[in-house]
Symmetry: C2
């Protein structure tokens, strides 16, 4: 017998000028509300005053089962029932971990995301992927589960550090490569030096609409959704390597996710050129952008072997030990499940490291 | 926008005479298979030979995040990809924990249950509830996620200790109270002293059919499925108390789940009589069965306060601090979401302890 599990989920993504009002609209019917927020944020939102709030020190390195347990304990201490709501305010690490904690506490309570970084706005906080890092592998444990709403308040971007802004922008560039020349062209034209938070709003909207369309068609990443992994096979491996390699005290975050994705996009566009005959233009455009804004990757040629080993353990692989990528035939035409040999992966890394 | 998450799940529950053949039918298409099994079982199933197998020491007290992590580590060490299958062989603790580990590993891989106790056959191993105990509360962390199949092989019952048999039988009695006089009568007539494993098979089938019908109509326990909690508000509290109170070395398991459910059924049938005017007959029948087979509960009158505190933290509660029960109007007519005052709960415990 086949049973269909229907999990009705409001995957409401809302761009808002007034975060207080947006919360009134989405959360007012909950009798129990708890907040988890990045400790570095200034929270000045009247709606949330008076509710218990857990402040967390957040970094990629802290995206662990211990952080999940801190949130479980907090929900437990405040006697939150299955009808409660957890509001998660912060970057992608925080919304991923809080989403997992909420989705497993008493077999799942509702949660709401308020992303505060560009990366979390355009990527992590919508789409239903939750989880944490395990054994040094990114998001190796998790569940698919959507927040009742994701409230995007561009106001947060005013105080976002430039490197964090660039990190989010890399995911937008990926979306441009998936969507086609219209969005891709607009993204290349955006002036990253001025970081105009008004001009970026329509671009955020376009990226969110693109992701929403893809996720709605394939919420559990059985097929189409894999296009979103463009840049992430190489990107995740570089991120994982940097978490192993960097000094905890000096660089608690390792390589920022978006930087890793940008380097991954370059490697995977290179493979798109040699394997699928993609034009060299987007590869050259992205390489230029890297040199002007992001800077070269910190990895060395001697890291190639470890990077390839990490890619072979990627959770996106269908068979143990293989390397699986999303590539593009042209801007706007992604192709999923492309098998890459270790030699091809090495060649792509050689190109990236030679820039 | 509303997104419906469709998770197609084969909730196949199969009674089988030949476990090897049943595995061939359900699992032969998986290229990667891993096994988690109770260390006390003799596994003599040709199909499973050669696959990696993790043996676990299992008890209610070990139903923890550490046991989940042991299984995650095992899957990780064997490079299991998203297309892999985890086969869980054991009682309800093992299948609950293995189900949770599989459903969160790389955001979810398939798993298959082979329950080896009567309790796991009729209850834990089907219905999609997975999880583990946290902060002393039963199954406080978990997800809803169904195995691809549950293979029930009555052969396991031949070596099942009598107390374990009785523990499973209590859940069957609960099903009888929910289903109506037909099944209830058959269950009362079954001769528990002989423990005839052939005569119990049609009763197991009837109980499974009942649960399947209820779960299919309400997989995530939003309404109808709450009827399955009959006996469990008091039962879980007694189980939790016994886990706190008993000596770890001497009684690693605390009170067996089914014993706790039986005591819970008596307390909740008492409340059904005084609050809903249910006839006293089923209460008397169950009280007799307790005295003849199960024995009196170990709890003392002085435990009443702690039991009531535990009931107020139950994950089934919709509002913090209340006590929420499923009761019956008559055999076959359950009523969910019945609010109980602490005084009523005390009175029900007084009745139970006075038997």
């Amino acid at each position: 017998m086949r049973i269909w599990f229907f999990c009705c989920i409001f995957a409401l993504v809302m761009l808002c000028n007034d975060i207080h009002k947006a919360l009134c609209e989405t959360a007012r019917n909950y009798r129990q509300i708890c907040i988890v927020a990045d400790q570095n944020l200034t929270l000045d939102i009247p709606f949330l005053e008076g509710f218990p709030c857990l402040r967390l020190f957040v970094s990629e390195r802290h995206k662990s089962i211990e952080m999940v347990a801190q949130i479980w304990d907090f929900l437990f201490e405040h006697d939150i029932t299955r009808n409660g709501l957890l509001v998660a305010i912060g970057g992608g690490v925080l919304t991923d971990v809080a989403g997992f904690a909420a989705s497993t506490y008493k077999r799942g309570i509702d949660y709401l995301n308020i992303p505060t970084t560009l990366l979390a706005m355009v990527d992590a906080s919508s789409g239903g992927k939750t989880g944490f890092n395990y054994h040094g592998l990114k998001n190796n444990i998790g569940v698919f589960s959507s927040p009742i709403a994701t409230l995007i308040w561009p106001q947060w971007l005013h105080t976002l550090p430039y490197r964090q802004f660039l990190s989010g922008y890399a995911e937008m560039l990926k979306t441009g490569l998936l969507e086609g020349n219209g969005l891709w062209g607009q993204l290349l034209q955006y002036d990253l030096d001025t970081m105009d938070t008004q001009a970026i709003v329509p671009l955020i909207e376009a990226c969110l609409a693109s992701k929403e369309r893809i996720v709605a068609a394939d919420p559990q990443e059985k097929g189409l959704r894999k296009v979103l992994n463009l840049g992430h096979t190489f990107g995740h491996a570089m991120e994982e390597l940097s978490l192993i390699a960097t000094d905890t005290e000096e660089k608690p975050d390792g390589l920022l996710h978006g930087y890793a994705v940008l380097y991954g996009l370059i490697a995977e566009l290179y493979l798109s050129v040699i394997k699928l005959g993609c034009s060299k233009e987007p590869l050259q455009q992205l390489s230029q952008l890297m040199l002007h804004q992001y800077g070269r990757p910190d990895c060395k040629c001697s890291d190639r072997e470890r990077l390839i080993r990490l890619m072979r353990q990627d959770k996106k692989n269908e068979h143990a030990g293989e390397i699986n990528c999303t590539l593009i035939q042209s801007v706007g035409s992604p192709v999923v499940n492309q098998k890459i040999t270790p030699e091809e992966a090495e060649e792509a890394l050689d190109y990236l490291f030679s820039l």
